[in-house]
Amino acid sequence: MAFLRRKKPSFEGGGLVLFEDVQDAMTAEKVLKEAGYAVKLVAPPPELRRGCDLALEMNLVEQPGIERALKEKDAAYVSVAPLRVGTSELLEIVKATDFGEQMMVRAGNMKLSFDKASGVIVNVSGGGCPDIPFLHSELIDRRLSDVARPRDIGFTLCALMLDRALEECLALWQGGEQR
């Protein structure tokens, strides 16, 4: 069957990268567009202004990948914030469920389970972004302390939540459950 060529991506929105000055915003726009991200220079709403009157609108779901791309190119920015006023802070809390031989930790929409004796990751569940099935295959059957961090190899907020779950699993395993 014939497939379509990719069209110029539509703008996606939902988040803002905030800057101290205009030059930083323009540098970041160039860096991110070269990395394949859809971004747009906009004026931030007054309540989100941190310095200059330019911000980059971006797909909030891509926050980890975008921040990593900026850091890799030493492109200065202040922070990333949800565009919608009233949006809550990024979730910091986690919850653990003890299944006996295994422990499951939930952070946001992500859950990571490990074997309490060996520290081996036995499952990853939840999430909805396309890096999660990839991270699932990368993490499963490997020891908590040996895996690449989802925040370093993933690109989305789901990956960031999975990283938080992994961090808590490491703390639980190394802090008391390791045998």
Binding site: M1, F3, L4, R6, K7, P9, S10, F11, E12, G13, G14, G15, G36, N59, L60, V61, E62, G65, P82, R84, V85, G86, T87, S88, E89, L91, I93, T97, F99, E101, Q102, M104, R106, G108, N109, K111, S113, V122, N123, V124, S125, G126, G128, C129, P130, D131, I132, P133, F134, H136, S137, I140, G154, F155, T156, L157, C158, A159, L160, M161
Partner: protein, 298 residues
Amino acid sequence: MMLIAGTVPIRGLPLTMGRPALEGDDLVVEGRRIPCAQGTGAMISAALAVADYLKLEAPQVLVAGDTGQGKGSREIYEYLIEKVGDISPQVVALHYCLPIMALMNRLCESVQRCPRKVLMIADAGSMYAAKAAGLASRFDVFTPDAAEMAFLADPDATHPAYIARHLFDADIGQTPDLVAAAYRHKNAARLLLVKGAVDYVVDGGGIVATVDEPDVPALEAVGGTGDTITGLVAAFLYAGLEPQEAAIIAARSNRMAGKFAGATPATRVRQIVEQLQAVFKEHLCQWSGVCCATGGQQ
């Protein structure tokens, strides 16, 4: 036709459409192997199990490789935006995709122009995009878990990572409150199947059923068991069941497959999928009235 669309974690896999077949532990679509693992692969596998059992036409699947940067997701959105009217499916189940609100908006517009009603189901990133873009009410079925239900209930969140803490803290017993909030803010599909220790089936804002047996707590930890539920709902809808009934039987089937598999947190989702045929054979007739002498004919 039942159409299942979503990304798969295979770098470089081009946009591919075709009928899947199960070969060993993998699905094969147009000669390309896709693991029956968490994500779209699990969803397809469950839908295929229903189609096999009921002797239905296998689902058409539209997949593309994407490991998080969104290229495959965009290819899927763009292809469907352009072609969904020509494909004219009866059921569309959208799954793991980078949530891109603008593209979801265009896709919903294309679906509205289809010559006949399309039953629209969304889970995972596609559900996030639909809610964040204010398009939830265009969908017939969402299948959130507890955290995702809190996301639907939060009018400002564009991703479950940004939900209000008090909503995240809500336990499954508070699902009715979250459901009410989601409908109040028009952030719910017509029917919700909320997956959790108790599964809630909600139609138009009213809870019409709960499913809590068999109780297999470990299923929450098994990656892909939410995906299989969505695949089951899609296939039962395609088989002609009413949405409420499709949701109830999907929830029961998934739980029973977990029980048959003796699920632990270390179980793989393909072990759950492998039990579905036995579950249907033993229970589907009683649950749904879809009865057959040899496990096939309706």
